[in-house]
Symmetry: C2
Subunit: 200 residues, 2 copies
């Protein structure tokens, strides 16, 4: 059976990762979503193993120590992290799994899963900026320079990723991510890898 | 403006490259098809610059000499080749161009255009074979071994390609190729390349 893919969806804060993920979940229900472990208390209606893996602080610290987390972080006194086991079980079962994560977390995941598919959601503002810069502007050279440098900074983060998807419209971004998943399954090295495993 | 892609569609003879290309042309009319140069006489209804670039033998030999062809071959006394100019003009204009070509030709194209997208159409028989081999077969070990080695030989050619698309159903193969084109346009390095060119 073909192995599933780990798809890491990241990008600058405010770019709309969550919104795109929610839309993608509706369009592509067969895609599995990575479930985080957390030490925060469950809220009403939250189910262990569905919304989160709820852990005691001690359990979480043990997971960190045993390298059971792909990445973790502490926010306002609570720990959040991505359990490796769930990701590995999913891809070994031949299912694709998507992990929505901030840029710092994504870089940590890459240390363990360099073979994952790294997608960077790009804010449309870079494109808008580009258009404005390209247009017959009335801005001073300094402002244009500053804007260019901001755009360059955001683009700089991109170098760690395989794909750049501009989040101009949610449906466009979802379509592109779906195409990327199809294309990645057609990658020659995956094809040969899977065939070889099967035929040996 | 973003540069277009050169998509090289190849695979073993009889795999259905032409059929897939014809179906793709209907589904995706904005995709440009590479036009070959040839020394063979035009048939009724064939138009120069549409079906082929019709050339005298002398002209063709000059094109070879001037490195104006991505690849060329001689069949039954006639020359056939892929003019570089048409491919370059198309991608420089921001349009994608597809080149349907045999495996030998594709490898030659790769020398000039390593950055093109190389898609290998895989006959479904490899998969069928795999299924048969996997199934509780009544075949002798020798037959199984021979079939495996045939499959391995076909897979061997794959190593020069970026993608493997199984031509199980024409519509499936077309969908996958379309997804590959979308995904390739999202490739981070293309995104950065295009942005950098535009902003400098």
């Amino acid at each position: 059976m073909d192995k599933g893919l780990l798809i890491v969806l990241s990008g600058p804060s405010g770019v709309g990762k969550g919104t795109v993920c929610t839309a993608l979940r509706k369009r592509k229900p067969e895609l599995i979503y990575s479930i985080s472990a957390t030490t925060r208390r469950p809220r009403d209606g939250e189910v262990d193993g569905v919304n989160y893996f709820f852990k005691e602080k001690e359990q979480f610290l043990t997971m960190i120590q045993n390298n059971e987390l792909l990445e973790w972080a502490e926010y306002v006194g609570n720990y959040y992290g991505t359990p490796i086991q769930f990701v590995e079980d999913t891809i070994n079962a031949g299912d694709d799994i998507i992990l929505e994560i901030d840029v710092q977390g994504a870089l940590k995941v890459k240390e363990t899963f360099p073979e994952a598919v790294y997608i960077f959601l790009v804010p449309p503002s870079i494109d808008e900026l580009k258009n404005r810069i390209e247009g017959r502007g009335t801005e001073t050279a300094d402002i244009i320079k500053h804007r260019l440098s901001m755009a360059q900074e955001e683009i700089e983060l991109l170098k760690h990723y395989d794909y750049a998807v501009v989040n101009d419209k949610i449906e466009n971004a979802c379509s592109k991510i779906e195409s990327i998943i199809v294309a990645e399954h057609c990658k020659r090295f995956r094809f040969i890898e899977n065939k070889t495993k099967e035929e040996v």
